[in-house]
């Protein structure tokens, strides 16, 4: 499944990153590495972006970018 569709409270692992290589690199830099555990903390009041917890910190990701992150439930 896709990070974009994860409900608040979802816990899982990053599986695969897709999309253009610039985006991939940026996602990796920010810690979205395949195998990493993460949690969906909340949606912004206007439903986009979403906030995840990964590597012990909080990161806001737009749904547009989250669509390129495939995840699996932990």
């Amino acid at each position: 499944m896709c990070l974009k569709d994860c409900p608040v409270g979802f816990q899982g692992r990053i599986k695969v990153l897709k999309g253009p290589s610039a985006l991939k690199r940026r996602l990796l830099e920010m810690g979205l590495v395949p195998g990493k555990f993460f949690k969906v903390v909340r949606n912004a009041p206007l439903r986009d972006p979403l906030e995840i917890e990964i590597m012990g910190y909080y990161l806001a990701v737009r749904k547009e970018e989250a669509a390129y992150v495939l995840v699996e439930k932990a």
Partner: protein, 710 residues
């Protein structure tokens, strides 16, 4: 005294600035790197008998070539060769922060690791074995709490040892790439060493690694400077293909994963976690709340706008009053004449015109520092991001655009908080359309004169509706500008929006004050001088020629006048004629043909010319043209004069409001745009673009839309 150089590197939000401030105090120099709008911050401090120059590198998450900040950071490290790079990491977010550290290791430079915000780490339930970490990495690791100066002495002592040559903190080989990657890097490295011409001090191993990652900058460097033209692509394509076949992924992903695997290995027996909820979690539960988030955002923004808009007013009045007083004193000393006019109206008026913006700049940056340092700013961006996304901007553009309604100058300066250059430029291009407070007197005058005090649907006041429509037109023009330039000039991939939400922290007064001070100095030094020069030119345009041929002998009339009132009328008439015969007045007449289709005549041409000095001056100039002397926007005589003037009717009055709203920003804004974009190209473009928009919109209104309404 011997001077040595060190550099501070680190992620944004790692507290780099706090440590920079703690090291250098107020001895800082802020400027831009040549050719780009990345801020260069330098400071000095003494260490024994050494003078240490500290370069505060831009905060980055990585050292790729995707953003100018990252390119600058690595260029400074390699080309300016600091003795040591102090890598400041957020101890409460160690794993991700070490990603940059790994890339510093790849560069092979001496590194000292500072674990900042140890207190946050403890609150979060993290235990870090500092000694073990230092042993593993082979470099000094110093735990610190920057804003409390904890650990500062240890950092200084360590730096002193290194700078005196007692040891070189070269990291152990802690980075493990898969053997296949290793082999390809080695092969590329050999190729670069044997075939490359000039490597300019870049380590060949690093060049090989980056080339493998497909780093555009490095590839260009290898082709042009190292002259590895034809063969490079071949060798590289081979290597990338080999990796893709064996490891099933692109080299950039493989390398990034390898770095994180190395970090995991390093942290294995160093970091222990017993995760706890922190204050940040509780605050965010409210501040980013589904329902409460937006009202809180609106409240904070209202307070901020209110502060910039009204708190600055008394200070601005004092500055105005002071320069008026100074002008009066100097005028008394000099007596009538050209010199008096130059010094009083040109220079003193000009300096006052520069400094009058300082209160707004200082107050806005005081609040921005508070919001940034406390951590609310990224939350604000998180909350409104969705609204700005369709424009290709992100939430960080909100504050600059909002501030522009008070004054475009601090608003444009506030775009520095936007990391992405493209988004910063788009925001700067739209800012001048936000109706600043200096435009309000124009609306007050024209609405007061022409819009009837009439109720629409029982409770909307027509005057208020027209004012609202004017402001909305400005916003709409800004939106159109962003969309047009996004499509025309800034095509290509949008930068992904990934924003860290750092823990909330109590801002320190020192940081806030230093930030404020740096901004004020930057404005006065970089923009102030140009503004002063332009205002002297404007003065000259309005004051020359000195002795035009006048239509009447005003001196004789004056002598014949019997009453004080009569004399005043004559003096005002003379002033009006002199104004129309000045170069600026002639310019106003010269542009009349362009303004004719809008229903404006040469007098409005002169008024608009003067509005370039500062928008509100338009009102005073109209007063002068109608030979009324010095009048304000609510002066009855001015209201009556323009009402009687056949040029004006409700349609042209609104047309003039639209034109003054949309035309180029005042002369003080253009140098600020230059300062923030790094080139005169952008203020030039803003001038052309805003004038075209102003003309077209006014034309459509006066010719087609207006007559439908009035």
């Amino acid at each position: 005294m011997k001077e040595v150089k060190i550099a501070l590197a680190g992620n944004p939000n790692a507290g780099k600035t706090t440590i920079f401030n703690a090291l250098t105090g107020a001895k800082q120099k802020v400027g831009n790197y040549p050719g780009v709008t990345v801020e260069r911050k330098e400071g000095f401090f003494r260490l024994g008998d050494l003078r240490v120059r500290v370069i505060d590198l831009p905060g980055t998450y990585s050292l790729t070539s995707y953003s100018p900040e990252e390119v600058i950071a690595r260029r400074v490290i390699v080309e300016e060769k600091p003795e040591v790079v102090v890598d400041i990491v957020d101890a409460s977010n160690l794993e991700r922060n070490l990603y940059l550290t790994m890339q510093l290791f790849e560069l092979g430079v001496p590194v000292v690791l500072v674990l900042n915000m140890m207190d946050d780490a403890k609150k979060k339930g993290l235990q870090i074995d500092v000694k073990r970490l230092s042993e593993k990495l082979g470099i000094p690791v110093i735990p610190m709490v920057g804003h409390k100066r904890i650990g500062l002495d240890e950092l200084l002592a360590t730096l002193e040892k290194i700078l005196k040559g007692e040891f070189r903190p070269v990291p152990n080989g802690v980075l493990f790439y898969p053997p296949e990657v290793h082999r390809e890097i080695e092969r590329l490295e050999k190729f670069i060493v044997s075939e490359g011409r000039d490597l300019s001090g870049y380590p060949p191993r690093w060049l090989a690694l980056k080339a493998l990652e497909g780093d555009e900058e490095v590839l260009r460097f290898l082709r042009e400077k190292a002259q590895l033209n034809g063969k490079l692509d071949e060798v590289l394509a081979q290597a990338r293909k080999a990796l893709r076949e064996r490891l099933g992924d692109e080299p950039e992903s493989i390398l990034a994963e390898a770095r994180y695997l190395s970090i995991q290995e390093i942290l294995k027996d160093v970091l222990k976690k017993t995760p706890r909820k922190t204050l940040t979690d509780y605050i965010d539960a409210v501040v980013c709340h589904r329902i409460l988030g937006i009202p809180i955002f609106i409240l904070v923004m209202t307070l901020m706008f209110q502060a910039v808009y009204s708190w600055s007013a008394p200070f601005m009045e004092w500055i105005d009053a002071f320069f008026a007083w100074l002008g009066g004193v100097v005028a008394g000393l000099l007596g009538e004449g050209l010199l008096k006019s130059l010094i009083v109206d040109g220079i003193i008026g000009g300096v006052g015109g520069v400094l009058v913006f300082l209160p707004q700049i200082v107050i806005l940056f005081f609040l921005i520092s508070l919001l940034e340092d406390s951590g609310y700013m990224p939350r604000a961006a998180f909350v409104v991001d969705r609204l700005l996304k369709p424009l290709g901007l992100n939430g960080k553009s909100f504050v600059p655009l909002l501030s522009s309604f008070a004054c475009n100058i601090p608003g444009i300066m506030a775009t520095r908080t936007i990391e992405n250059y493209r988004q910063r430029l788009l925001t700067i291009l739209a800012a001048p359309f936000m109706s600043c407070s200096a435009r309000l007197p124009i609306y007050t005058l024209l609405i007061g004169a022409f819009i009837p005090d009439q109720k629409i649907f029982g409770f909307f006041n027509l005057k208020g509706l027209v004012l609202l429509a004017i402001y909305l037109t400005g916003i709409l023009a800004g939106v159109v500008t962003i969309l047009v330039f996004k499509a025309l000039v800034f095509r290509g991939e949008p930068s992904p929006f990934l924003m860290e939400l750092p823990p909330y922290r109590l801002p320190t007064l020192k940081s806030v004050l230093i930030h404020m001070w740096n901004r004020a100095v930057l404005y006065v030094r970089k923009a102030g001088t140009v503004i002063l020069a332009i205002s002297i030119i404007m003065w000259a345009l309005f004051s020359f020629p000195q002795n035009p041929t006048l239509s009447k002998d005003y001196e004789a009339l004056m002598a014949a006048a019997t009453s004080e009132e009569e004399r005043l009328v004559i003096a005002n008439q003379e002033a009006a004629e002199r104004l129309s015969k000045s170069y600026a007045g002639r310019f106003g007449k010269f542009i009349e043909p362009v303004l004719k289709p809008l229903g404006f005549d040469w007098r409005i041409g002169i008024a608009l010319t003067s509005a370039f000095a500062a928008k509100e001056v338009l009102v005073a100039t109209l007063g002068q043209i109608y030979a009324l002397g010095e009048v304000g926007e609510e002066d009855v005589s001015l209201l009556e004069s323009i009402r009687k003037d056949p040029v004006f009717n409700p349609v042209t009055a609104i047309g003039l409001m639209l034109f003054s709203l949309l035309m180029m920003p005042c002369m003080a804004t253009l140098p600020v745009i230059k300062m923030e974009t790094g080139s005169w190209r952008w203020p030039a473009l803003v001038t052309l673009w805003t004038l075209s928009i102003a003309w077209s919109v006014t034309f459509v209104w006066v010719r087609f839309l207006g007559p439908l309404f009035f």
